[in-house]
């Protein structure tokens, strides 16, 4: 797919930033799990934390293609940071932009679009993943306030966010239509980080279990209408999935680049190993798969940009790209041989970082379900 000069500039800026500012510290952050506060601040200043938010609310106002191109490049620099960026943009900013009142936008969106405040998306529960209708978290009206109780699982940015978008059942009798969404400042009493997960990869992005213990918020904290929560939760499903596809492509590309460069440098039997057909053909396959995934991803993004339905295409892009990425990273490790298995080179980290792309925002199985229902 051809991109515009402007989209290319966005991509190039994100690529240069990722290469110079993110990639050099990625291994260290993987070791220490240190939250990338400085990096995110710089990204905020560049407009990367509010890409789809219009300028009137302090965002960059880019199109969706620019957004996914940037996500891809940031992911190539540090997969974990691309997750923070993706969650913040796609399920942090986007719902407030679409459903928020002017007061809510003034209070949250402006700070979020400039990266000064991070957003978290509290939907998943210990017993409810993609099946949002099985939520157990309850919000009970108390005068002009709501009192929220429950627990949320696998919450990206849960510890570092300034505001959490929390989905809770407000009308148990109404099923999916009984769910409402609330904007909860994370310093509200009762918002508790119960646990931080120890993960296979993406370690500098915090993934938290959040417990809501009698969290009281005023009625004005409700995003959208009572009972509109499920719709809000699903509103940017496609955008989120295309974003994961972009992350997968970016990480795969980074692993591929490392493997290709190594294959050109490393010699065996008197020649660079890329001269061995087994290695060269493997690299050719890797590059082809990455490009195929990228085109699926860009196609889905362009449909979404045009306002056309893209549920199936977004799922296909996520399914294919995330599974492609695991395989490409594995092949990258293979290209490095023993050096791919140790942390002197970045490929083992990328392999770990990219694995979750087959899980979050709907597992591969869920994507197949969506696709199969749209055949």
């Amino acid at each position: 797919m051809l991109i515009t000069e402007e989209q290319a500039m966005v991509r190039d800026m994100a690529r240069a930033f990722a290469r110079e500012r993110l990639a050099p510290g990625a291994a260290e952050r993987d070791r220490t799990s240190a939250f990338p506060a400085d990096e995110l601040k710089a990204m905020g200043e560049l407009g990367l934390m509010g890409m789809l938010v219009p300028e009137e609310w302090g965002g960059a106002g880019t199109d969706i293609l620019s957004y996914v191109l940037a996500i891809e490049e940031i992911a190539a620099g540090d997969g974990a940071i691309s997750t923070i960026m993706s969650v913040h943009n796609s399920v942090g900013c986007a719902p407030i932009l679409k459903f928020g009142t002017p007061a809510q936008k003034e209070r949250y969106l402006r700070a979020m679009a400039s990266g000064q405040m991070l957003g978290a998306f509290c939907l998943t529960e210990p017993q409810a993943g993609s099946d949002a209708s099985a939520l157990k978290t309850r919000a009970v009206r108390d005068g002009d306030h709501w009192v929220i109780n429950g627990a949320k699982q696998f919450i990206t940015n849960g510890q570092n966010a300034g505001v959490a978008l929390v989905f809770a059942v407000t009308d148990p009798a109404a099923g999916k239509k009984g769910i409402s969404a609330f904007l909860v400042p994370t310093d509200t009493p009762g918002y508790t980080v119960a646990r931080l997960e120890h993960k296979l990869g993406q370690r500098c992005s915090d993934t938290a279990q959040i417990v809501f213990d009698n969290v009281r918020v005023p009625h004005e904290a409700m995003l959208g209408e009572p009972g509109q929560g499920y719709r809000i939760a699903l509103a940017n499903l496609e955008g989120g999935r295309i974003g994961i596809a972009a992350q997968s492509v970016g990480m795969a590309q980074a692993a591929f680049n490392a493997a290709r460069d190594y294959a050109r440098e490393r010699t065996s039997m008197g020649v660079a190993i890329i001269e061995h057909q087994a290695v060269a053909f493997r690299l050719a396959d890797m590059a082809t798969r990455i490009e195929a995934a990228r085109q699926l991803m860009l196609h889905a993004a362009s449909l979404r940009q045009a306002g056309q339905p893209c549920l199936k295409e977004a799922s296909m892009a996520k399914l294919f790209a995330s599974e492609m990425a695991e395989r490409v990273c594995s092949d990258a490790i293979q290209t490095f041989g023993g050096y791919g298995y140790v942390d002197d080179f970045p490929v083992e980290r990328i392999y770990r970082d990219v694995r979750v792309c087959q899980i979050y925002e709907g597992t591969s199985d869920i994507q197949k379900l969506v696709i199969s229902r749209n055949l």
Binding site: M9, D12, A60
Partner: protein
């Protein structure tokens, strides 16, 4: 003070260049191109001068193919106000580029021209000095600090073994060294704004400038491969080899 900044589109510094099979140049097809890094420093310095209230307008110029418009857009996104492309498809060499820039400088009447000290493709390190010569202006090459004053500019230069500060009469030409500043990334809002900024294309011929190359490249080759190493028997032998054979100490 109007500031003119010259930028060149070159093979991205991150690309490991490969010599073409026919030995007539390096592979540039399907190779990522970017703004010459020293020119990014030049644009950044101009933007900082504007932010400090020392410069009023930044005009960014490139002499090269149509694709150099992308490079100019990047400069606009970094904060330049308008751009001029002197379009040519001939191989640009320093003297010709200096002549084109001279023609533009005479038209635009800048108080200061800033260029990168050299382009990372031909590594010539000439254009700024040549432009200053042709205009009869002072030159502050390899600048690591630039302080404009009334009618003059103090330029601290990176010279062998240290730093030298000179005071130049304005208008003047300054070429940038690495330590002058750290160029910013173009922010997304500024990338959006860049497309609305004026970018004018002029034909080299219309400036009355002859860009015909004066140097003919007969061939381009890989650098000599690292020769097989030798073992030396003593520290004295090592020092002798480093001094007389490798000539690195």
């Amino acid at each position: 003070m109007k500031v003119l900044v010259a930028v060149k589109r070159v093979v991205d510094y991150n690309v490991k260049v490969r010599v073409k099979a026919d030995g007539m140049g390096v592979e540039t097809a399907n190779v990522k191109m970017s703004m010459n890094p020293f020119d990014e420093i030049a644009v950044e310095e101009a933007v900082r001068l504007k932010e400090a209230g020392k410069a009023t307008e930044i005009v960014v110029v490139s002499v090269g193919p149509t694709q150099a418009q992308e490079t100019l857009r990047t400069a606009l996104a970094m904060g330049a106000d308008r751009a001029i492309l002197v379009q040519t498809d001939v191989e640009t060499q320093s003297l010709g580029v200096a002549k084109a820039l001279k023609a533009l400088a005479e038209k635009e009447q800048p108080g200061l021209v800033i260029l990168g000290k050299q382009a990372i493709d031909d590594d010539a390190n000439q254009t700024g000095q040549m432009l200053a010569a042709l205009l009869g202006w002072a030159q502050g090459t390899f600048a690591s600090k630039v302080v404009p004053a009334e009618g003059t500019i103090a330029v601290t230069r990176e010279i062998d073994g240290g730093l030298e500060t000179v005071e130049l009469k304005l208008p003047a030409v300054v070429t940038t060294d690495l330590r002058l500043n750290e160029p910013r990334y173009a922010s997304l809002p500024n990338i959006m704004k860049a497309k609305k900024k004026p970018l004018e294309t002029v034909d080299a011929a219309s400036l009355g400038v002859d860009l015909t190359p004066r140097l003919k490249t007969l061939k381009v080759a890989e650098p000599p491969k690292r020769a097989g190493g030798v073992k030396v028997g003593s520290v004295q032998e090592l020092v002798a080899k480093l001094k007389t054979e490798a000539r690195v100490i």
